[in-house]
């Protein structure tokens, strides 16, 4: 069995790399998607996202009054459980390389770490968008079964856009927290505890409550659930909330990963 590649030598001791092409980014994305499905933890997380989305639909179907079983309400109730779990997926996709120490292999196979992180972001977004599509499909099915009067009314492109924005932001925030902590437990706990801690502090300290829509992503995103048009100010609050909780942590984490020693 041939274990050494028959590379033509340029000069003694020189590696001829002229005929080798780089690892294409598309391949890295497929590999990252595969990494999310090939462990029990990852697979069960995905199964949990699908199952909970379906389950909450069934619960709502039986619990809600007939006239509230509208398409938009179905989408609305799915946003919360998905919004909890999709960021965890983002976190795990990053932190498994450190918690399980596979980064030593991953970043040797592709030493350009930015490319690997980019592939992880793309893979997580693909999963996020699949979750959004799935939610819409299940909601449509449930609405059709419910047959409530006016269940399909007032649905606009912007409703889909808002829902997608919410879930995609959640995925990106998960990735950002993963990059900052490089540790699954720390990232997940912080992701869930920080907003709670924020509201506790805000309830005690009124000044913080006043600026909450600007600095607390959960508060600034609330209008997205309310099924109405957002004011210009509300959009800006979403922008600042996203910058503080997603963009800045992501950039800081990225810098850390690009510079850090992988052990």
């Amino acid at each position: 069995m041939n274990i050494v590649a028959p590379h033509g030598s340029v000069a003694p001791g020189k590696l001829d790399i002229s005929s080798t092409s780089k690892v294409p980014s598309t391949r890295l994305v497929t590999v990252e998607m595969r990494k999310m499905l090939d462990t029990r933890a990852g697979l069960w997380l995905i199964i949990a996202i699908v199952a909970i989305t379906a389950l909450i639909t069934v619960i709502f179907f039986f619990a809600a009054p007939d006239d509230e079983r509208t398409f938009l309400n179905y989408i609305g109730i799915m946003a919360t459980p998905q919004g909890f779990l999709l960021p965890v997926m983002g976190i795990l996709l990053i932190t498994q390389e450190w918690t399980q120490r596979t980064g030593m292999v991953t970043f040797t196979l592709e030493p350009h770490r930015g490319k690997v992180i980019g592939a992880k972001v793309a893979a997580a977004l693909v999963f996020g968008l699949i979750a959004v599509a799935l939610a819409c499909a299940i909601a449509a099915l449930a609405t059709a079964v419910s047959g409530a009067p006016g269940a399909w009314e007032n649905i606009g492109i912007d409703d889909f856009a808002k829902f997608t924005l919410l879930q995609v932001t959640g995925v990106l925030q998960g990735l950002a927290f993963g990059l900052i902590f490089l540790n699954s437990a720390a990232a997940i706990v912080t992701y869930f505890v920080l907003p709670i801690a924020f509201s506790i502090v805000a309830s005690l300290w009124g000044a913080l409550e006043d600026i909450a829509p600007w600095v607390d992503l959960g508060t600034s995103q609330t209008p997205l659930f309310e099924g109405r048009n957002l004011t210009g100010e509300e959009w800006w609050q979403i922008v600042t909330g996203t910058v503080i909780w997603v963009v800045l942590p992501f950039l800081a984490g990225l810098v850390r990963v690009l510079r850090a020693e992988v052990k």
């Binding site: 001791g13 590999v31 596979t102 052990k263």
Partner: protein, 305 residues
């Protein structure tokens, strides 16, 4: 060929790798030998760009590792056999790598066979692997891309004697086909068995390097007579200085032929007469090891006592 030129890595005040330069030649197995914590792993991580160095440069076949496109097709790397996702199966670990590198699927099965991981073993999760199995999986992973250079950190660690023998055959064969192998170890005898060339590192500095013959062949003789007193007398007469080695034999700086002649003249019967091999290297290595081991032995004894 792997070449390091004045590579230095500092962690605050501590210099883990101190101005290290050496070359691992094409077609040779080079052993990178040193006690734990001497800077072997750090040097190897620097070679593949996982650890940024503070100075100097490490080149593989004339390139920085990061400049080699799809580097696993040229350089096979095993840095830590335990650094694998415990929840993946052995086969899945290799498939992920194969997919990244863009090599055929069958290559995974070929490599599993080459390293002796059976079908049922490949289906088990890495969590349930012994260290020896993880090493084999790591070797398979390193060979997957048909590289011409191998960088292996403590690959023999955890292998049984048969496994060490197998590894020796594999790496010799690889080097014999024109490959370059650099493997590290903290055990002199492991490296002695496998490597052609040796680089000895201690406390971040290279302390010796050369071919195995150069390093192991120190001038000197080991001689064991039937009657120690008679031999001592005979050697004194012949003006040969010798020191008892504690087992009824003697070590001398002189050549075996001179010691043999002196014994023959005096009519002393010898039971052993040979060139004293490896004494210099072994001594140097023991000194390196004991210097570092002393601090740690105090703490471990303290805990155990």
């Amino acid at each position: 060929m792997i070449s390091l030129e004045n590579v230095t890595k500092r962690y605050g005040q501590f210099t883990a790798v101190d101005d290290v330069s050496f070359v691992a030649q094409t077609g040779k197995v080079t052993g990178f030998l040193g006690p734990n914590g001497a800077g072997k792993s750090t040097s190897m991580r620097i070679m593949v760009g996982l650890t940024p160095q503070n100075g100097g440069q490490a080149l593989i076949g004339g390139h920085r590792f990061a400049d080699i496109p799809n580097p696993s097709r040229h350089v096979g790397v095993l840095l830590d056999a335990s650094a694998q996702h415990a929840g993946r199966t052995g086969r899945e670990v290799l498939r992920l790598s194969a997919e990244t590198m863009g090599v055929r699927r069958e290559r995974v099965e070929e490599m599993l066979e080459l390293v002796g991981l059976s079908g049922t073993e490949a289906k088990r999760r890495v969590r349930n692997y012994s260290l020896g199995m993880r090493q084999r999986l790591g070797i398979a992973n390193a060979l997957l891309g048909e590289p011409s250079v191998l960088i292996l950190d403590e690959p023999v660690n955890g292998l049984d004697p048969a496994g060490i023998h197998w590894m020796r055959g594999l790496l010799r064969n690889f080097a014999g086909r024109g490959g370059t192998v650099l493997l590290s170890s903290h055990l002199l005898h492991e490296v002695e068995m496998i490597a052609d060339e040796m680089v000895l590192i201690g406390r971040g500095k290279i302390v010796a390097q050369g071919t195995k013959d150069e390093l192991l062949h120190t001038a000197g003789t080991y001689v064991k007579p039937e009657d120690p007193a008679a031999l001592q007398q005979a050697l004194q007469t012949a003006n040969i200085t010798a020191t008892p080695s504690g087992d009824g034999g003697f070590r001398s700086e002189s050549e075996p032929i001179d010691v043999g002649r002196a014994a023959a003249v005096a009519g002393v019967v010898l039971t052993e007469l040979k060139r004293a091999e490896g004494a210099g290297l072994e001594e140097m290595f023991l000194q390196l090891t004991s210097d570092d081991a002393r601090d740690s032995s105090i703490t471990t004894e303290g805990v155990n006592a």
